[in-house]
Amino acid sequence: MRTRKPTLIPPPIAIFGTFAMLLILVPFIGLAQRTPWGSFLSILGESSVRSAISLSLLVASVSAFICLILGLPLGWILARSQSLWMRLLRAIVLLPMVLPPVAGGTALLFALGRRGFVGQKLDEWFGITLPFTTTGAIIAATFVSLPFFVLAIETSINDLNRDFEESAMSLGSSPTRTFFSVTVPLIRTGLIAGLTLSWARALGEFGATITFAGDNPGRTRTLPLELFVALESDPNRAVVIGMIMIIISLGVLITLRGRWIGQK
């Protein structure tokens, strides 16, 4: 907005806000303290870790992209449709968050596994099986991160002043064009928040992935799975992998979100 004196943070807000920040920060300080930094570079250099990093980035990014394509329309419908059914749908959308990921992965197997009521048909008709493939890992990650994205979009659209869309339509823009040329740009902040949330959630996804997509180096073994395996055998290695995840996501989030928000 306009130039102004830097906002002064009122004391109560500063105190509680700092406390919140500490709650988040302190565990990571704990993690950093316990990190055997000496072995950091050698673990980072391992080819299995390298491949897990690139697989993780791929899965998280593709999954965030799918969230965008599928979640944007769904968020719009949930925000705009006034039918009573929407209340139920709105609650259902959140279910993948409520169920622990391992259980979510099991549900995915029940539906999309080779014996699942949808997976069966996929296999019969198209010869597609999803478990144990990168596609499966992406589906698992998308399943758990879609709710965040949809809710972020729904919220932003709910808060939108309808004047702009009404004007656009009166100026001759069809509902679809209005959606892309007015609604989407105006909910930009919410969209970025949704993308960030779903990307971050997908990056950290473990339970549903291991259950639905299994653990296969190079295809489904993302960093969280690598971390899990390490937890079983070599906790120090696990800590290093955790630090790697943290550093990567900090890097990505600072660069991209900083840029997006900065452009505003």
């Binding site: 907005m1 009404e166 339509m169 009166s170 823009s173 509902p175 064009r177 740009p185 105006l186």
Partner: protein, 351 residues
């Protein structure tokens, strides 16, 4: 055939709305009324943002809203463009892109779009701020962008909701001129009497969700339904060709102006600015002409006198003056008006 015809009902919250009127092709209709009267609601119905609950709305030959027949043409398919009272300039597009927006929707060639945008920017004095985003604009600048965008859209029927309310007087006076000369069918909501009379070929008075009066400015101003309307309309409007200090009124007669003009002009002056005399007056009023009293409408203490000489006009005088001058229907007398009382605006040219 009328350009637009509405005879229907709707509801806004708990306010019932009921309108019945029509607009001819190319006609300029001005909607006036108190705050909360239902002016904006009327425009929303026409644009398709507020559906009818009863009755019919047709645009040209096409029925566009009729609950009984289950017809409802959505806003983007109607040949109307509604400029909302808030302006609704898109916050994510700069000034030029806002203006280009409606043109983009019509699949106009990009070259033509560029040209049209350029012209509109120029016309509305927005060239300097063409690349600025709306949040860096002043209130009046925003209003100009909104209006420029509506004009650039060039629809068959233009619906404007108080477009000049935060525009400065100089700009709003040429904008009014511009709108007056627009050949598009226009429905305009306004709180400004001068604007209403300059632009309005017909006036629609709305109150409480209903139309309480409709007619030409002359009709409405000589017989206003209530004091609010009477107060609103207190102006005479003429068109003329000016050369030097003289303006030749279309249809006959001429008036002396305070400044030199050499073009087609619009002339306006308050009805109350006309003085009536039984003998030729001598003084600063430069314009004196002979008239016959054609109508007399008394409203308690003031009287609206319809006078006809080389041209028609309405004069407002006190009952006392009327008695003193002993005016009756058919009385011949002198009308006078000072050149400075005459407001002149060029016709056609802008800025």
């Amino acid at each position: 055939m009328s350009a637009l015809k509405l005879d229907g009902e709707s509801v806004l919250g708990s306010t019932p709305l009921e309108y019945s009127f029509q607009v001819e092709e190319g006609e300029h209709l001005v909607v006036i009324g108190q705050n909360g009267a239902g002016k904006s609601a009327l425009l929303r119905i026409l644009a398709g943002l507020l559906p009818l609950t009863k009755g019919t709305l047709s645009i040209g030959k096409q029925i566009v809203d009729s609950p009984v027949e289950n017809i409802f043409l959505p806003p983007h398919k109607r040949p109307t463009v509604l400029q909302l009272q808030t302006g609704a300039v898109f916050p994510h597009l700069n000034v030029a892109k806002n203006i280009a927006y409606p043109l983009r929707q019509m699949k106009t060639e990009s070259k033509k779009i560029r040209k049209a945008v350029e012209e509109t920017l120029e016309r509305f004095q927005l060239s300097e701020i063409r690349n600025r985003l709306p949040h860096t604009l002043s209130g009046g600048q925003l209003s100009r962008v909104a209006l420029a965008r509506s004009i650039a859209a060039n629809p068959r029927i233009l619906l404007l909701d108080e477009p000049t309310s935060s525009i400065d007087i100089e700009a709003s006076s040429w904008i009014d001129e511009f709108l007056k000369d627009l050949r598009t069918t226009l429905i305009l909501v306004s709180h400004d009497p001068v604007e209403a009379l300059v632009i309005g070929q017909r006036i629609l008075v709305v109150d409480n969700g209903r139309i309480i009066q409709k007619g030409t400015p002359a009709d409405v101003s000589t017989q206003p339904t209530n004091s609010w309307v009477a107060k609103f309309l207190n102006l005479n409007i003429l068109t003329a060709s000016a050369s030097g200090f003289e303006a030749k009124i279309d249809g006959g007669g001429s008036l002396r102006l305070a400044e030199k003009w050499n073009e087609r002009v619009n002339i306006s002056f308050p009805s109350s600015a006309i003085s009536l005399y039984t003998n030729t007056p001598d003084g600063s009023p430069r314009n004196v002409w002979e008239v016959t009293v054609k109508t007399l409408h008394s409203d308690g203490e003031i009287v609206r006198v319809g006078i006809e000489g080389p041209f028609k006009a309405t004069a407002i005088i006190t009952q006392e003056s009327l008695d003193h001058l002993d005016l009756r229907l058919g009385t011949k007398c002198w009308a006078a008006i000072k050149a400075n009382e005459i407001n002149v605006t060029p016709k056609g040219s802008l800025g």
